[in-house]
């Protein structure tokens, strides 16, 4: 189940981004995204788990570029969400490979999929609200928010790595 879900997510990720680019007449971009998707699938087949991180990074960069080029944010967001899910499932699949075949793999898979679906659904809702809502932030407030966020995450990571 995980394997099929993972493949579907990779296809949906590159498909969303390629569709977004294709709709605005940038077929060459769409083609490159599809080629990248094929490479991602080959990497999955060759069990190169690290490539999922490259896939996630690439999907975010492609979405950001698409936004810069004025493409539909909905397709770009969908690309990021499916990319994130593919990245998550790749790690989960690696962890499942450590299990013994008599372990409750079905239960583990079911719980994880349910959890990740709910999480991404919440993320989709919040992101959609953020995309549609128009709140005026001054630049100074925005900058302060970004610095605080970045510092917070950096400290958190440092603390976790030390502990």
């Amino acid at each position: 189940v995980i394997h099929i879900t993972l493949i579907i997510n990779i296809i949906l990720c590159v498909g969303s981004l390629a569709w977004g680019y294709g709709q605005s007449g940038r077929e060459s971009f769409a083609l490159w995204i599809l080629i990248f998707g094929a490479v991602w699938l080959i990497a999955l087949w060759r069990r190169l788990a690290w490539f999922a991180s490259v896939g996630l990074l690439a999907s975010i960069l492609a979405a950001a570029l698409g936004l810069w080029l004025g493409l539909s944010p909905a397709w770009m967001l969908a690309g990021i969400l499916f990319g994130l899910m593919a990245w998550d499932l790749t790690e989960f699949r690696r962890r499942l490979s450590l299990a013994f075949f008599e372990d409750d793999l079905v239960g583990l898979e079911r719980r994880h999929l349910l959890r990740i679906y709910l999480l991404l659904l919440a993320a989709l809702l919040l992101s959609s609200i953020a995309l549609t809502a128009r709140v005026k932030f001054s630049f100074e407030w925005g900058l302060l928010l970004a610095i605080v966020t970045a510092l917070g995450i950096t400290h958190l990571i440092r603390w976790l790595r030390n502990s």
Partner: protein, 427 residues
């Protein structure tokens, strides 16, 4: 790049890009990643609090006997999703069924039990800890911890039962046993004739001798049978045991030591064991079942060792063994060992050398080529010469071609005690 750092970098990248370009959509793109990271942080278990119990179906087994290891893990802390549990199994053991690694979800106060079956070659194995790795439900943060779960498994060498091993040390102990003691008393072996004394049973009267001396009666005397001290020396030197390709004669020597110590202890003797390898591992002499256990434990742990100090047998001090007792050396033997053994013999010890045959063993490993055949002949001659010198010194030598079963070779050779002889001339 670790997963949390990658996520944090991507979030920062999107936030900074959104602020730099004044595009709110880029900030919205960071939301899924942020939610994902926050969820992982919130759900990440702060500590792993497990209680792990280990049970082994047997702690003392013979080689290749299956042993079931059962681990019960109880979670005393918060819920642990995707907990990886891995029991650390010694490299000398192999898992024949089940798995030592499991991925489970443990609720608070929930427990999980798993078993796996192992088997292994001779050795002493200890189980010390269980490795666990907990992570948040989406696997971003991970925490590894090991928990103590002690256990021990001794895989003993195979013991071939020998009914009787005849030895004849000069000195015996005071307790009744099976070794002729060179003193008259209760026994079965004829010792001599003496004048009849009041109280002698009629069946002890030697009628032939009495008939020759009218008016006198003579009684037969029998040899007392007692127990003796036996010191078994197991040669664990690398130079004598190891051959090309990692082949070793040591396992055969261990089998011989186990079988002989078992036989000597069954006969009631006091037996000690010295493993002569990279150091001297001495099991003090003792009697009975307890001593059998101690010797088997020592043999289970015995290893071939290389040491520049113990290359020869010169550290085999006579003071290690009771005076004039029986010393049994189990060794493939090399030429330099002659002097040490002769010295032991000269000090009054009865020495029995049981030698697994390295020439035949190595010839089989190397294959039958003309060069190997020639080398084997030369080595065989040297070895025969060594044995002849040992025998002339009054040392009993038994050669064992390990291709043949131990008891078949040794039983006929050890059934009868050697006739005591004086030191011969060393050729």
């Amino acid at each position: 790049l670790s997963r949390p750092i990658l996520l944090a970098c991507l979030i920062c990248l999107l936030l900074l890009a959104g602020l730099a370009t004044l595009r709110g959509e880029l900030l919205a793109f960071a939301i899924p990643l942020l939610i994902y990271l926050l969820y992982a942080l919130v759900q990440f278990p702060q500590r792993i609090d497990l209680d792990i119990q280990r049970a082994l179906s047997a702690e003392r087994v013979h080689a290749e006997t299956p042993v079931t290891v059962t681990l019960t893990i109880t979670n005393r802390g918060a819920v642990l999703d995707n907990l990886l549990v891995e029991d650390r199994v010694s490299s000398g053991l192999k898992i024949i069924s089940g798995s030592a690694r499991h991925l489970v979800t443990l609720r608070k106060n929930g427990s999980f039990t798993f078993s796996y079956t192992i088997s292994g070659s001779r050795g002493g194995y200890s189980f010390e800890s269980v490795y666990t790795e907990a992570c948040d439900p989406v696997g971003v943060f991970q925490r590894a911890q090991t928990f103590p779960a002690a256990g021990q498994l001794f895989v003993f060498p195979e013991v071939t039962r020998l009914k009787f091993v005849a030895i004849r040390p000069r000195r015996t102990r005071i307790y009744a046993g099976s070794i002729p003691a060179r003193a008259s008393g209760a026994g079965v072996e004829f010792y001599g004739v003496r004048d009849y004394q009041a109280g002698d049973p009629p069946r002890a009267i030697n009628w032939h001798a009495s008939a020759r001396h009218l008016g006198s009666l003579f009684s037969n005397e029998f040899q007392q049978e007692r127990v003796a001290d036996v010191g078994i020396v197991l040669d664990g030197r690398e130079r004598t045991n190891l051959f090309r390709g990692g082949h070793s004669l040591f396992e055969y020597s261990v089998l011989a030591a186990a079988s002989l110590s078992d036989a000597f202890l069954n006969q009631g003797n006091r037996v000690g064991l010295l493993v002569y390898g990279s150091y001297l591992a001495w099991s003090l002499p003792g009697y009975g079942k307890l001593q059998r256990e101690q010797i088997l434990h020592a043999l289970a742990r015995a290893q071939v060792g290389a040491s520049s100090v113990f290359t020869g047998l010169e550290h085999l001090s006579p003071r290690m063994f009771p005076v004039e007792s029986q010393v049994v050396l189990i060794s493939p033997l090399v030429g330099e060992d002659l002097n040490v053994l002769v010295q032991l013999r000269a000090r009054g010890y009865q020495v029995l050398a049981l030698s697994p045959d390295p020439v035949a063993y190595e010839s089989r490993i190397l294959g039958l080529t003309p060069e190997v055949g020639l080398a084997a002949r030369v080595t065989r001659m040297e070895r025969d010469l060594l044995f002849r010198r040992l025998q002339r010194a009054g040392i009993r030598v038994i050669e064992w071609d390990v291709a043949r079963p131990f008891d078949q070779v040794v039983r006929p050779a050890l059934r009868r005690a050697p006739i005591p002889q004086h030191m011969g001339r060393i050729v």
